[in-house]
């Protein structure tokens, strides 16, 4: 039998066992509840994301065409076409004095009175531009009317196609949030999958079933199938948790998806696979040298230190995505998975760095897979006291 059907067989067993496992189901439920709760909380507390909301004071006694035009902007569609994204609310004010006071005391962001635009010391540029544009339109329309054009003619003249605007880089804020979320998710997924693999390896060893299995297939096939199967469960969990979170968030409108969400999701997936392969193999290798569940913690300690340290570093690094730490982290395979998707989401990642990072990851995964397979083959049939790492690597393995 070829290697692949065997690996698939082993992975299929891991998958079924995972789906059956109460612990995995319980942790999935907890994660989904947590994510949904976070999304609901974000919706309830209101989010800073999305277009800014501005208030315009208008002196109601003198209705003006500009006000009408400004009110029309509340619909938002035209404003967005023009490249502005702001929500405009209009507040009626009794007179010019009230308007001045309201602007001075920052109750409104600007006010229209007697053909003047009152603005504070640091006026909102988008609002000013919007109102100037509305005023120009209103005056042009008036001029055209004065020149004797009919209403349909005026309408046609006043409705040239607006300049289409297109965003070519990620929006700041939203991308950053997604980046932090992505690296957190990756970190949790890699740790829980790594632990699941370690525990599976020790269970096989502890129950001695591994000797029967290895009398039929190669250690490397068992290792590969195990890592693949547990990884698929992990991926399934991520997909379920993310869809639950996003579903709630979109339904309640608590997040606006930046246009690069798809890219970020793809990168998170790629780096999950790479990071998971790296740590999954390492956890399996580490677990194979012990025989009891109680020893898993001590044998996987170095890996946990790398993961936790990497996560802490990544949160610091992502605060400054162009900084030295972020750039160096991009090329350090154990922590790159937690940094690269975040940097990319913030549009701070040159293509060559991404390519080099992925190449380095792949190389490291290959090396770690080789070492882990060696370690695994040599120590998985040794029962009893934990082995020394160096001894395990030196030992003669199975015949296969």
């Amino acid at each position: 039998m070829k290697a692949w059907p065997t690996i698939r067989l082993v992975a299929g067993r891991e998958l079924r066992e995972g789906v059956r496992s109460r612990a995995i189901r319980a942790s999935l439920v907890v994660q989904v509840l947590l994510v949904v709760a976070i999304a609901l909380f974000a919706a309830a507390s209101g989010s800073d994301d999305g277009p800014p909301s501005l208030e315009l004071g208008v002196v109601s006694t003198e209705p003006q065409p500009v006000v009408r035009a400004a009110r029309a902007q509340q619909q938002g569609s035209r404003a967005q076409q023009q490249g502005f994204e702001l929500r405009l609310r209009v507040r009626e004010l009794p007179d010019a004095v009230a308007a001045r006071r309201a602007v001075r005391e920052e109750e409104v962001d600007a006010a229209l009175t007697g053909g003047r635009l009152l603005v504070p010391g640091d006026p909102d540029a988008a609002l000013v531009a919007l109102l100037q544009s509305a005023s120009r339109s209103a005056r042009s329309a008036q001029n055209l009317r004065d020149a004797g054009l009919t209403q349909p003619q005026i309408a046609a003249a006043m409705m040239p196609a607006p300049l289409a605007t297109e965003r070519v880089a990620a929006q700041e804020g939203g991308g950053e949030g997604l980046a932090f979320l992505g690296s957190l998710l990756l970190y949790i997924a890699v740790i829980s999958c790594g632990y699941a693999i370690a525990s599976g390896v020790v269970t096989e060893k502890n129950s001695r079933v591994v000797e029967i299995v290895l009398s039929a297939i190669r250690p490397s096939q068992l290792l590969a199938g195990k890592v693949l199967g547990v990884g698929l469960i992990g991926l399934m969990q991520i997909v379920i948790v993310v869809s639950a979170g996003l579903g709630v968030a979109l339904a309640t409108g608590s997040v606006d998806m930046p246009s690069t969400t798809g890219q970020t999701a793809a990168l998170v997936t790629v780096y999950f696979l790479l990071g998971y392969a790296l740590f999954g193999m390492a956890f399996a290798g580490a677990a194979s040298i012990v025989s009891r569940q109680e020893d898993i913690q001590s044998t996987t300690m170095p890996l946990m230190v790398i993961l936790i340290g990497g996560y802490v570093l990544s949160t610091t690094a992502l605060g400054n995505p162009d900084g030295t730490l972020a750039v160096v982290g991009t090329f350090l395979p154990p922590i790159a998975p937690m940094i690269v998707p975040g940097r990319a989401a913030q549009a701070a990642l040159p293509a060559w760095q991404l390519a080099a990072s992925i190449a380095l990851m792949l190389l490291t995964v290959l090396v770690v897979a080789k070492v882990a397979a060696r370690l695994y083959a040599r120590s998985v049939l040794r029962f009893g006291a934990p082995m020394k790492l160096t001894e395990a690597l030196r030992r003669r393995g199975t015949a296969q």
């Binding site: 039998m1 082993v10 066992e17 496992s21 269970t203 079933v209 000797e211 029967i212 009398s215 015949a399």
Partner: protein, 280 residues
């Protein structure tokens, strides 16, 4: 070093006993046959050719340390193990169901192994070694821990595998009477070396001793003292030297008391074993 120049052959389609004191290297040798351990030197041949990965995959193996996936349902587990040995999925499922039926635990098919009693777990373990219809079975102490009924069931199953399918079975055991009863041939090892191997009858002949079982009532303990070349062993067994005449022994017995039993006695495997291993 666990094994030293150990070499023996097993007749095809027979039951073969592999015996030796604790620590002699039986488990190590079996693990090498299965490829679970790599030898420093030496080869394992099967049907005239060096045993390769494909050949090993066909072997049914029961390791000394029993073990199955504790949380996996019994039927699914047997099917999975059969598939690992290269059986197609559908046949594997059927074979698993058949074995569970035959061993009387079909009603536990969907229970996780850990929910079964120890005795039933041992049945599943046996089925795990047999489910893919292996031409060669290697069983490490298959009888250990079984009650007398379990021993009978296992003996019957193994004999049936040999008769029905012509399977070759190698098993190790400390229960030498059992080995003697089931096996046509044996290998005895001690301290990693081969002490003796071959057909049980051959070994007896090679042992060369002539033994008679004589039961005499009403005679003194040393009634055979007058007959030349006769040595008393335990349990009314007497060993006769090359020159000694059984008829002279019978005469002596009749003179001294009442002969209840008189007949040739065979050297037991246990004795062959004891003598062979004591010599080193």
């Amino acid at each position: 070093m666990a094994l030293d120049e150990l070499s023996f052959s097993v007749p095809a389609g027979r039951m073969f006993g592999f015996v030796g004191p604790n620590g002699a290297g039986k488990t190590t040798a079996m693990r090498i046959v299965l490829g679970v351990l790599a030898p420093d030197a030496g080869e394992v041949h099967w049907q005239g050719r060096a045993l390769d990965e494909q050949g090993r995959r066909g072997i049914g193996y029961m390791p000394e340390e029993r073990g199955l996936y504790p949380k996996m349902p019994v039927g699914e587990q047997l099917g999975y193990l059969a598939q690992l040995h290269g059986m197609p999925a559908v046949r594997a499922r059927d074979a698993a169901a058949r074995w569970l039926e035959r061993l009387g635990i079909a009603d536990r098919t969907d229970d996780p192994v850990e929910a079964l009693s120890l005795g039933n777990q041992q049945r599943v373990q046996l089925a795990a070694a047999l489910v893919h219809e292996p031409p060669l079975l290697v069983l490490d102490e298959p009888f250990s821990g079984l009650d007398p009924v379990g021993v009978d069931v296992l003996s019957e199953v193994l004999l049936d595998e040999v008769r029905r399918r012509g399977a070759t079975i190698v098993f190790s055991s400390h229960q030498l009477e059992l080995v003697e009863r089931l096996c046509d041939a044996v290998a005895i090892i001690a301290a990693g070396r081969l002490v003796a191997s071959g057909g049980v009858d051959e070994l007896r002949r090679a042992h060369g001793s002539r033994r008679w079982r004589v039961q005499v009532s009403g005679a003194p303990a040393a009634w055979h003292g007058g007959v030349d070349g006769v040595r008393a062993l335990e349990d009314s067994i007497y060993e006769l030297g090359d020159q000694a005449d059984p008829q002279a022994l019978l005469d002596a017995a009749r003179r001294q008391g009442r002969v209840e039993r008189f007949g040739p006695a065979e050297v037991t495997l246990a004795e062959l074993f004891r003598e062979a291993t004591a010599a080193r």
